[in-house]
Symmetry: C2
Subunit: 407 residues, 2 copies
């Protein structure tokens, strides 16, 4: 009827098959647990926002990357670019929310960027933000929560780089976003971009060489002291970095970025204080500070440290095989029993398939256990369970099997 | 700098604040656990698909509701309309996936529909599908898994209505989508729409009165027998309904819909067999059957049955108050200890706030417990914990507090 079409994914977009989903769900579960343990509450916002909500908050370069279109009612709309601006809109739209409001949000964002290695047009962000608390303890709590998440994820050799936008206070926003690329393009690259954006070359050279020698601001020092009291170590867990700029316009003072273990100029996430953003919607300023994890880079770094090696390839724990058609009913009953006991159980679909083909199916899916229910087992009210990893086999009662699989 | 704008949400789109998120996460957790217990594995696909992937699969009426636009590269793209067509594309794009492939997928979909009570333009779907298994046991397993989910959610007075597209085999697709509205607009309404779509009035009247007397097909009877063997009761858990049509074009035989407890013509979800859809991408047919829950309607029905009454309003378990500035450090330490023990803990942000205002904050947020750490408590190495629901107070050691809150 319909002509066959090439079933491709748009460039820059990805499917996540079960093996990858197991990893993602594991990471998200850990992040959620840490976020909630710190008293952050869940929030979700819609993918589409009015274009005017999104535009003019991030800076010129970022605005170009917002997916915009006209919907049916000729309204200009856009796909969310981050989770911070939608949060600011939520705060402004709900003036009766008890303050401070501490929320976490785990949702995809979209950027019409050039797809390249490790960069995608849809990617998941995991954010925590504290709204309505101007105290620097809130900055420290956000950083501590992010560091705790990293600790619980088991990631080594990463630290939070911290700076204060105050150090860059005299720069135009487009100059800040040039400085932000220092780690990637080096001094010469930044100077070139500054000149391209209208700076005098002599000034740019002098500036680049001077600002990188700045000392922590009083705000930075207070945040550092709070962090130390919470048990985090300067130099190991966090450190001052005057060259940190953060690309987005909305930051106002403390800024921070989680350095990737592999490459300091690559970040696993970042954040800072943005005390004026909500005011753009509300008319009065509300203090705010937050941090955003980029899940893809986090997972990439964890993969490189071998942290998922022990993770199964699937959520399914056991395959119940079908010995032959006459034992079909017994296998169906056993599968129901295991499912009832909360054990993730697949039942082989075809009673006419040879047992070794059924085992191969389990192996290809990465299902860790296989149960066999043949004439001997049915007679003795037992089952044979095979560990697919080491090939060992045991004959157990059904109760024993449940206990074995629930571990 | 930027002018203040009205911080509104687009019509038909919603924010989910923490109280609502607690409910949604609870429902999703239960669904995920049931899906995984049946051996369905997680999958996620991108929000944007090529327009040609989406169009021509659902039927004319549905195609009009797909959000389409041109992206930067002048590619025609669309936001996913359901989770079934993206799954079909994934299957066609990954010819080496071990079959049968059983996946669940929980992601939002978008429809440029008229927003109305209970209908939104972005809404969450929770789908299970079995690909590559033509056996009617696969149809029964999908239905059984959906019924098990309903049971685990605690929802009463709902049943699965089951039919076979074979009964409607002689109808044009646009006539099927007219029949699908029978529950909502009644016989007269359907006849009117059939005539509008080109049917003779006399034929439409005769057809409407005859097809609703059809008997279950042999396929239906086989599925019913499988369901009964799995412990589900005809009449109570499922029943035959020849008037069930399902609006989408891609169904080929078994179709089913979960009737809402309040109104039979309203459904909490639906599904069926679609053995030709994947062939539209792949060039060869692959059998497939699936079911999709509409989370919003499910939650609405559960609310009406009072199933969330015992649920807290927030994920946070306890607020650690600050008795006065000199006890700040003690409170910070206690909060860290509770967080370490996996207890979701908020720390009041301002040491200068009066205690009764701090208690009010916990009350407004719905935090179930408040901990007070004053001079007496610090001296005796105890804490006072207040149950915010019944107002009772206890003085406990920190170990006892942890046990109390971990329950």
């Amino acid at each position: 009827m319909t002509k066959k079409i090439k079933p491709q994914t748009l460039k820059g977009f990805r499917d996540f098959l079960p093996e990858e989903m197991v990893i993602r769900q594991k990471v998200i579960d850990i992040l959620k647990n840490v976020f909630e343990s710190y008293g952050f509450e869940p929030l979700e916002t819609p993918a589409l926002e009015y274009a005017e909500t999104l535009l003019g908050k991030y800076g010129e370069e970022a605005d170009k990357l917002i997916y915009q279109f006209e919907d049916r009612g000729k309204r200009k709309v856009g796909l969310r670019y981050d989770l911070t601006v939608p949060l600011a809109r939520v705060i402004a739209a709900n003036p009766n929310l008890p303050m401070p409001f501490k929320r976490y949000q785990i949702q995809p964002v979209w950027r019409a960027d050039k797809p390249q290695a490790g960069r995608f047009r849809e990617f998941l962000q995991c954010d925590i933000d504290t709204i309505g608390n101007a105290s620097l303890r809130a900055d420290a709590e956000i950083i501590a929560c992010a560091l705790e998440a990293i600790k619980k994820l088991g990631l080594k050799n990463t630290k939070m780089l911290i700076n204060d936008r105050y150090i860059l206070r005299n720069l135009k926003p487009e100059f800040v976003s040039a400085i932000d690329k220092l780690g990637k393009v080096g001094k010469a690259g930044v100077i070139k971009e500054l000149v391209k954006k209208g700076a005098k070359k002599s000034w740019a050279e002098k500036y680049i060489n001077s600002f990188s020698k700045e000392k922590p601001t009083p705000n930075n020092i207070t945040v550092f002291n709070h962090l130390k009291k919470l048990g985090w170590k300067e130099g190991k867990d966090f450190e001052f970095d005057p060259t940190l700029a953060r690309g987005l316009d909305y930051y106002t003072s403390t800024i921070f970025e989680l350095a990737s273990p592999n490459c300091k100029s690559d970040s696993l996430g970042g954040g800072g204080r943005y005390d004026n953003l909500i005011g753009m919607f509300l008319g009065r300023d509300v203090p705010a500070v937050g941090f955003s994890f980029g899940i893809d880079r986090l997972i990439e770094a964890m993969k490189q440290q071998g942290l998922f090696k022990k993770l199964p390839k699937t959520t399914t724990k056991v395959l119940v095989t079908i010995f032959s058609p006459e034992f079909l009913e017994e296998s169906i009953k056993l599968a129901s029993k295991l499912r009832e006991a909360g054990i993730n159980t697949d039942l082989y679909p075809d009673p006419d398939t040879k047992l070794d083909k059924q085992l191969k199916y389990a192996d290809r899916k990465g299902i860790p256990y296989v149960v066999i229910l043949g004439p001997e087992e049915v007679k003795n009210k037992t089952v044979t369970v095979k560990n697919m990893k080491n090939g060992s086999q045991k004959t157990l009662s059904i109760d024993e099997l449940q206990k074995e699989l629930q571990v």
